[in-house]
Amino acid sequence: MPLALLAAVLPGPPVCAQAAPVVPRTVTIDERLAAAAALAVGDRVLLAPEAGGPGDTVTIAAITRRGADPSEVARSEYRVRLHLDHLQRLAGTGDRVGRFAVASAPGVAPESVAAAIDAAAFGFRAYPAAAVAIETSATFRVVNRFHRAIGIITIVASAIFLLCITLLKVDERRRDVGALRLLGLSRATVVRAVVLEAALVSLVGSAMGAGLGWAASALVNWHYQGVYATPLRFAIVTPGIVAFAVTLSLGLGLVSGWVAAQRLVRRAPLELVGR
């Protein structure tokens, strides 16, 4: 955090007037803690390694918002950030760091930075952020596959269902189809009309479905972003998903319409109208 910004968020006179002016150190807290403890930027709080024990008075310099990281969504802990030296002093374990992040300059490949660090010193193991992300998201990838399996089952089941519905709906029109054939409309004309109608219905249906999906995902996001206080999007409707849905529905409509129409035009017109 730039010093200028730190200075800006440190208003008011020093706490101790007579001693050497002690400027309180600054910390940041996350939104969740701010909400739970009713804290705001500029508030002074006691920061101690143990509850009720001695500690430092610190100023809250900023309130941070959590990133959209699925691995953090379900954690209910609070997050406080302080300067490294301050943390070391408070914890009484100077010079011990579990892990830290190194930002590479723009245009430098993270892999080469990691390799350079690994080569520079023993006792380090550097990973590019992407590798860490992959490592920590293994669970989500399993969940994702599970979702995909559910999606495929749903699509196959509803495709069969829709095919049957189309067959039934078209079959309901067999008297009309029979009448058209009696009047001299060719098989091809009847099939074309049925397929065209099925295609239109499936286009309208998929547009409605995409709209419904978008509304549902907005509702899900609104609800769970509130519950978990995260900007993470839990459900998304991407253009790719919409394109897939429309293509699938149109394909299904064309195939089921064609099959249904073929079933009808193969029968004798007199049989279709039931005499």
Binding site: R175, D176, A179, L180, R181, L182, L183, G184, L185, S186, R187, T189, P269, L270, V273, R275
Partner: protein
């Protein structure tokens, strides 16, 4: 006089397991341009079967049927379909109008299939609906029309592609006496204006209106009475049609 229809020894057997049904047993019939023939007979005697054969809806087991010079009995499915579209007009007992189309669109339907240009078929639909007395109902859908009005739309539709012959199976069968009379009057006017008509009916009033009555029993013609001969100045062009 021009021969519009000529059927020779037409038979239709239904291959029912056990004893096959001989619905039509050797019927021969000639119909000339401008005639109106009513085929009457008891239920089940084969009237509808015969009319379906004449209209290329069904194919005879034996015999020949020539309509306007075409051998209808030997047509393949696609040719028979085409013949139903342009060669004959069919009026059904149950109208068979498309419920989602307006009266005008119903009349235009066979013309659209026959690739008649839009402007032409709209004009013809208007003309035909005017002729059957439904000019003001062109934009109404079947459910907004009475049974008699629906049947008149169906008659207009049957005439759309200027067929050589109008076939009607019990056209008054679903109608009450008054609307039935309207339909009979329309058929009479059509016939006087030159349309050749063959109807099948139980309706005594309809049979009385026809020029000629053919009695059928057990699949064969038992009587053939000309009640009103064609006027001497019969239409000269033969393809007398509205």
């Amino acid at each position: 006089m021009t021969l519009v229809l000529s059927a020779r020894d037409v038979r239709r057997d239904y291959p029912v397991a056990g004893t096959p049904v001989h619905a039509v047993r050797g019927i021969s019939l000639d119909v000339h341009a401008g005639e109106w023939v009513a085929i009457v007979g008891p239920s089940g005697c084969g009237k509808s079967t015969l009319l379906n054969l004449l209209g290329a809806i069904d194919r005879p087991s034996a015999g020949s049927i020539t309509i306007a010079g075409r051998d209808v009995a030997r047509l393949g499915d696609a040719e028979a379909t085409r013949f139903r579209l342009t060669g004959v007009g069919f009026v059904f007992q149950r109208f068979y109008l498309m419920p989602t189309l307006t009266a005008a669109e119903n009349v235009e339907l066979p013309m659209a299939e026959a690739k008649v240009p839009r402007v032409e078929r709209e004009a013809r639909a208007r003309e035909l609906l005017g002729y059957v007395g439904l000019a003001g109902r062109a934009d109404h859908r079947p459910f907004q029309l009475s049974g008699g009005e629906q049947q008149r739309v169906a008659i207009a539709r049957a005439l759309a592609n200027r067929p050589a012959l109008l076939l009607a199976d019990e056209p008054t069968g679903e109608l009450d006496a008054r609307t039935g009379t309207e339909v009979i009057a329309l058929l009479d006017r059509l016939n006087r204006d030159g349309t050749t008509i063959v109807t099948v009916t139980h309706d005594e009033e309809l049979a009385q209106a026809a020029r000629r009555v053919v009695h059928v029993r057990d699949g064969a013609i038992v009587d053939d009475v000309v009640r009103r001969p064609l006027p001497p100045a019969a239409p000269a062009d033969g393809a007398a049609r509205r």
